[in-house]
């Protein structure tokens, strides 16, 4: 083995580490901002399906970065309040999305309140968006985030009730019974 001075050894080691870090930045799993969101999600309960992880930011995983299939253009969860004031999934709700370029599209919520439009089916989605869930329209536009759950956060200790807080609009809420026949529900 050729003897190498410890100074040169450390310099070489530092260079190698820096080089490998540089390479890693461009790879999935190593972008700190989305990765922090993914790492902060609770563990999966059951197996992944269209009903899983309601209220969570879907596109954190269902995106080019997250690599979960299918990739979504837009996705989220809709809730209603029960007579006792608790949050419950709102199935059969029509969620209509108006983008800045073309005609609107809609999706229906499933039993978990989840809805989604796959990226392949709306590849030219143009922000900003306006959204209507059931009979309620969003008060603000969506600037560039496809996950409803990124801004409409679930309740937590510092955001009790419907999850509204200084950085959260609270979960997406519709009135109880606000379903649509086109989504398998009753009369609108």
């Amino acid at each position: 083995m050729v003897p190498v001075s410890s100074g040169r050894f450390f310099a070489a080691l530092s260079f190698a580490v820096a080089l490998s870090s540089l390479g890693a930045v461009g790879c999935n799993g190593n972008d700190p901002i989305p990765q922090e969101v993914i790492d902060g999600l609770p563990a999966e309960s059951g197996s992944p399906s269209a009903l899983h992880r309601p209220g969570q930011p879907c596109l954190s995983c269902h995106s080019t970065y997250g690599e979960a299939a299918p990739a979504f253009a837009i996705a989220g969860t809709v809730y209603k309040e029960t007579a006792m004031g608790a949050l419950a999934a709102a199935p059969n709700v029509k969620v209509e999305i108006f983008d800045s370029a073309g005609p609107s599209r809609f999706a229906c919520t499933n039993a978990a309140g989840n809805f989604y439009i796959e990226k392949d089916k709306w590849s030219d989605l143009t922000f900003p968006l306006k959204v209507r869930a059931g009979q309620r329209s969003m008060n603000s536009i969506i600037g560039r985030e496809g996950s409803c759950g990124a801004c409409h956060k679930l309740p937590s200790d510092d955001r009790p009730g419907n999850g509204a807080g200084h950085d959260s609009a609270g979960v997406v809420l519709v009135d109880d019974g606000d379903t649509d026949p086109i989504c398998g529900g009753g009369a609108p």
């Binding site: 410890s6 100074g7 901002i33 900003p128 536009i141 560039r144 985030e145 801004c151 807080g165």
Partner: protein
């Protein structure tokens, strides 16, 4: 004993490594010292910027709706942070997104945020009464002429552009208000 330890360290790492370590420690110390002596909030109070009353009455409401959504400049991690009723709420107040109207503190924070985005250029704009406003990042990012993650926000001479330029050009309050109101309307 102490000499033995020093010799062992030298033998293990070499003089160059120790010197590099010394430089690193000195640098970190200097960084810490520098950070601890940052200008306080009081030192940031004096800055050049056009009419604050026109900004808070007309421009801020437009920026809040168009730029300050929770997924864009209504994020605490983004430059040019914008607070507002429908977006991020000021952390020292206990309001929630979608709750009470934008507060005076939030309006003042928005003014400081926008004015200090590009302070040298803004000083020039104030000095020449707005004739160099098209040099500002604020204007060029909104027009899509500078790299902007949110894309092109306004076209030249459309109501949103005129809202911002009118304020920067020291136009009267009624003229700016008319442009800003026209720019806000389609965002509702």
């Amino acid at each position: 004993m102490r000499r033995n330890v020093r010799e062992r360290i030298r033998a293990a790492f070499g003089r160059r490594s120790l010197a590099a370590l010394g430089v690193l420690v000195t640098g970190l110390f200097g960084l810490g010292f520098g950070a601890s002596s940052c200008v306080g909030e009081a030192g940031l109070e004096a800055y050049a910027c056009p009419n604050p009353a026109v900004f808070t009455a007309s421009v801020s409401p437009y920026l809040e709706r168009r730029c300050g959504t929770l997924d864009c400049h209504g994020q605490p991690t983004r430059p040019m942070r914008i607070y507002g009723q429908l977006g991020l709420r000021h952390p020292v107040e206990n309001n929630v997104s979608g709750g009470v109207a934008t507060t005076q503190l939030e309006l003042e924070s928005n003014y400081a945020s926008v004015c200090n985005l590009d302070p040298a250029a803004m000083q020039q704009v104030v000095d020449d009464l707005g004739s160099t406003a098209d040099k500002l990042l604020l204007v060029n990012k909104a027009r899509g002429l500078e790299r902007h993650k949110g894309g092109k926000i306004v076209n030249e001479q459309d109501p949103g552009d005129l809202c911002i330029l009118g304020w920067l050009g020291f136009k009267d309050a009624a003229t700016v208000a008319a442009s800003c109101t026209a720019a806000i309307e389609p965002l509702k």
